[in-house]
Symmetry: C2
Subunit: 223 residues, 2 copies
């Protein structure tokens, strides 16, 4: 009797037609080919079925993307144990941003289709824990996590799609050509607006956010 043909083993076994199987397959395609290849049709093809079959397990493409993101969040390193709370908070946020920057189109998707999976909750828990450690009042911390997570997601999302370099250049040109008459403040700040290494800007932005959250009172009847 011949053994199971080798070719069967060259690729990972065809995933099961279950939510886990679909999401896992989606993660694989994302890693190998990018989010634009993670389509219902492609997934179905790989599972030897029609696209309609997937709708039993996922509501739509947006929900699938959110599930994929939560899966990736699970691969993030745990929050650092050493350093000042501000520094550790920044490191968690930079790690999250970094992961999203590997898949900017997923970040773009996450901005609209909010994740609510277990790993996303872990991330929120880390942020709240660190803010609490820093003595930031609970209400400010609660409202603040939205600011921090949104900054991370939006920053990564900006790199999705078309050459963001082109846009940067275009804006740079526009800022440079500005007349000191019509736009005096831009003219005065033009060198500064796009200055600095991305890392330095990212770090500054998170510290500014943290400072702002720490020192801005939430309105009274925070119901």
């Amino acid at each position: 009797m011949p053994a199971t043909p080798r070719s069967r083993r060259e690729r990972p076994a065809k995933p099961a037609l279950t939510r886990e199987g679909i999401v896992g397959l989606a993660v694989g395609i994302l890693r190998a080919e990018g989010l634009h290849k993670v389509t219902m049709r492609r997934l179905a093809q790989e599972l030897d079925t029609g696209p309609a079959s997937l709708y039993v397990y996922v509501r739509n493409t947006a929900e699938l993307h959110a599930a994929v993101l939560d899966e990736l969040l699970g691969t993030l390193a745990p929050p650092p144990a050493e350093g000042d709370w501000r520094e550790r908070l920044e490191r968690v946020l930079i790690a999250y941003t970094g992961m999203l920057l590997e898949y900017p189109s997923l970040a773009r998707s996450a901005l609209t289709a909010w994740p609510s999976g277990p790993h996303y909750l872990d991330l929120i828990e880390s942020l709240l824990g660190l803010l609490d450690e820093g003595g930031v009042p609970r209400e400010r911390a609660a409202w603040g996590v939205d600011l921090l997570l949104q900054r991370a997601t939006a920053t990564a999302a900006e790199h999705a799609g078309g050459d963001s370099r082109d846009d940067w250049d275009a804006l740079g040109d526009a800022l440079g050509e500005v007349s000191a008459r019509a736009h005096p403040h831009i003219a005065a700040a033009s060198g500064l607006l796009l200055s600095g290494a991305p890392e330095a800007r990212a770090s500054w932005a998170f510290q500014a956010l943290i400072n702002g959250i720490e020192h801005t009172a939430v309105p009274e009847p925070h119901e």
Copy 2:
């Protein structure tokens, strides 16, 4: 001789096949039917030509969207003249956010395809002017505008696409079901995380941002 048929005048005259004509038509379709109808094919159809013709005037869909946004930015009210600088700054940002909230998918698009049109420059000029009035150091102001504009854009973008209400509910459920053992900080803050009227949160967020920008030093060699 018969006059020009009336039907010719029932709709606005067919725009010219120029960049202005295309962008203007796009704005009209956006207002009437939403961004998802602003497609190359639809535009071409309305101009009695094939989609290929448009590529002489716009590089691609993303660039078209950016042009549309800049056009809409031109309809924004001028910055308010009364009140404390912080208050006026917030009002400019809220007005911008409000406009984007009318077209969340355009906001989503703006996050990736940066506008660099004249009206966008005016907006940057306003922000820099108000920060300067508040005595915020130039370098902080320059880096800060990115934070402020990104917050506005991302907040509006979150409302694009699928029911953001569903996601909110899903996250609310997930946060509520959390175990105090695994996620103590979430459990303690669960009521707070999604609390508050959208307006109150938006206002707080901008004030926190402004405070953070004002009080966070930019690193030394700000090259």
